[in-house]
Amino acid sequence: MENSNTEDGPNASSAGTAMAKEESLILMKNIWKTYQMGVEELHALRDVSFQVEKGDYLAIIGPSGSGKSTLMNLIGCLDSPSKGTYLINGHLVSEMTDDELARIRNKEIGFVFQTFNLLARATALHNVELPLIYAGVRASERHDRATAALESVELGDRTLHRPNELSGGQRQRVAIARALINNPSILLADEPTGALDSKTSVEIMALFEKLHAAGNTIIVVTHEHEVAERAHRVITIRDGQIEKDERIK
């Protein structure tokens, strides 16, 4: 629907690309993100363009300050670009209001954070149910789906535990179950193993591979090469620009 809107919009050329690459899950075209620091302008992203196809497993890697966090926030619809066009699953995100962005985050994006970001007071089940609450799903259905999601990450026996009663790896699996509960287009992970020991990291990465094999599109933002190597495609960011974009599998 958004595609037809862009046809006669100001971004006619990028809309043309969008039409051509209609299959792309993510389409970023000439994205700029500029922060105003006093009188100076700081360009966190300069003219970034790339596409991600459905079912891909992509790692975004780069040193701190490279702009990869900014890019992740844009992909995750937590923020809007200063300039450029961003389409996710056919939705033109770059011109959305805050509430529309919230809806996209709810339906299209599943976040996995470095520090898990679970609600401390809520049980694992309630944490997983949260996105469904905001999606307006009825309580009984919510309960069933959240239970099933926890079972799929092998936490079926931990549904009523609170985060502080779970290990780091278990918490991250709760977070993954939460990320997947609404069948999002993308699983977006920000340093997913950053707070885990190496053994647990391997488990989580194995889970990611399993999810990818099951057809999920995964984007991992990281600075660890071991994590990036698990992906099928790696984009390297430096100084706000794409330095390298290579398919490794």
Binding site: L78, D98, R105, N106, K107, N117, L130, P131, G136, A139
Partner: protein, 415 residues
């Protein structure tokens, strides 16, 4: 609609979870609201109690009764003005003239022959006891029609006893208790300023308000007899009884007639006043309405302080839970979702305070009811509860708005 309710219940559940997680803080926050609601409950139940008692007492004078007096009748806090005190007295003849009116069934004069403010005490003694502190009233047999006094034992005096100024009397319950506490007083005698009066009746105890003068501390004697006891008595109060359902017409007729008899010039205000049970109740209600407004103001202060406490704690809560807000936004909460969540939380907090206040206030007013006429009016609990919830929502608005406006990226980074 179903979705909205389910979302609301979900928020309510989350709010309860949060409050349970911060019991002490929640309790301290709502003390102001609790106190405010208790105030509303107590004052409203006391006012309602007094109101009911006053209505009962005034109604006991009869719904057909019209009171006529030279000074203004009703509940007053000022002293009668000089003009009022200088007005000519009503007379026995006035009362008899009122009886001729078509809408008036009867009219009864009450001559006050009690002890005056200065000197000439009316001394009453019997059975070895003596007092001057009794209301002595001269009246006519038609008082039985008025129905304001009920004869418990004995009878009213007859027209003959009035015509011949017989020394007979009826006594109120308090007078009986004073002189003949453990025996029937009817047939006994008592002395009024040295004259011996035969007691021919004993009256039922009258309804009484706390602190009000004792209506049962009264002796009724025939009108003429009262004048003989106190020849200079001139303070006459008239009670007229209107035909059934014609009280307004009767009141008009009475005023017209008395204006003529008392030669009030056209266009001048009455130099007497008339009142009915309803008009006095109305007057009383307008006073209690004023008190009720004062009550609202006073309890508003409590609720306001409670509200500021709520705002303060909600602001702290929003800051503390910045990260939670970030998480919720990341997984799809809209600004309105966050706003509603915090509003419901604030409303639940104060609503809970309101319920505690209602429980305590109700308990206290039950205790007060043991000593004082009071009852909780039907409107007080819902008012108290909804005012509490409203306070939470109003004072929660700013913190909730702040929470809703938080930037998700900043919030997720917040430690």
């Amino acid at each position: 609609m179903r979705l909205v309710t389910s979302r609301f219940l979900e928020n309510l559940k989350m709010a309860f979870d949060t409050l349970r997680g911060n019991k002490l803080r929640a309790f301290l926050t709502i003390i102001g609201v609790v106190v405010g609601v208790i105030t509303v409950m107590l004052i409203s139940s006391i006012i309602s109690g007094i109101q009911l008692a006053v209505e009962d007492q005034i109604k006991s004078f009869g719904t057909r009764s019209i009171f006529v007096y030279k000074m203004d009748i009703g509940i007053r806090f000022d002293r009668p003005s000089r003009e009022e005190r200088m007005r000519p007295d009503l007379t026995l003849e006035d009362a008899l003239a009122l009886r001729e009116l078509s809408e008036v069934e009867t009219a009864v004069p009450f001559l006050n022959a009690s002890s005056g403010w200065w000197g000439n005490a009316t001394i009453i003694s019997a059975n070895g006891k003596q007092t001057s502190n009794i209301n002595l009233t001269g009246t006519l047999p038609e008082i039985s029609v008025a129905g304001t006094e009920v004869v418990l034992e004995g009878r009213w005096f007859t027209q003959a006893e009035v015509d011949f100024k017989k020394d007979v009397c009826l006594i109120g319950e308090t007078v009986k208790e004073t002189f003949y506490p453990n025996e029937s007083a009817v047939g006994k005698t008592l002395e009024i300023n040295g004259r011996e009066f035969r007691i021919i009746g004993h009256l039922e105890k009258k309804a009484q308000l706390l602190g009000d003068q004792d209506e049962s501390n009264t002796i009724y004697v025939p009108f003429g007899s009262a004048l003989r006891i106190k020849p200079n008595a001139d303070d006459v109060f008239i009670m007229a009884v209107a035909n059934e359902g014609r009280i307004a017409q009767a009141q008009d007729q009475i005023e017209d007639l008395l204006r003529t008899r008392r030669k009030v010039a056209f266009g001048r205000p009455n130099n007497f006043s008339t009142a009915t049970a309803d008009s006095i109740i109305d007057q009383f209600n307008s006073i209690t309405a004023g008190v009720a407004i004062a009550m609202v103001v006073i309890s508003s202060i409590g609720l306001l302080i409670g509200g500021i406490g709520v705002m303060n704690i909600m602001l702290v809560s929003v800051t503390e839970r910045t990260r939670e807000i970030g998480i919720r936004k990341a997984i799809g909460a809209k600004q309105s979702d966050i706003l509603i969540q915090f509003l419901i939380e604030a409303g639940t907090l104060t609503g809970f305070g309101g319920l505690i206040g209602l429980a305590i206030g109700w308990g206290l007013s039950l205790i007060i009811a043991l000593f004082f006429p009071s009852y909780v009016p039907y409107w007080a609990p819902p008012l108290g509860f909804f005012a509490s919830v409203g306070i939470g929502i109003v004072f929660g608005l700013f913190p909730a708005w702040k929470a809703a406006r938080l930037d998700p990226i900043e919030s997720l980074r917040y430690e």
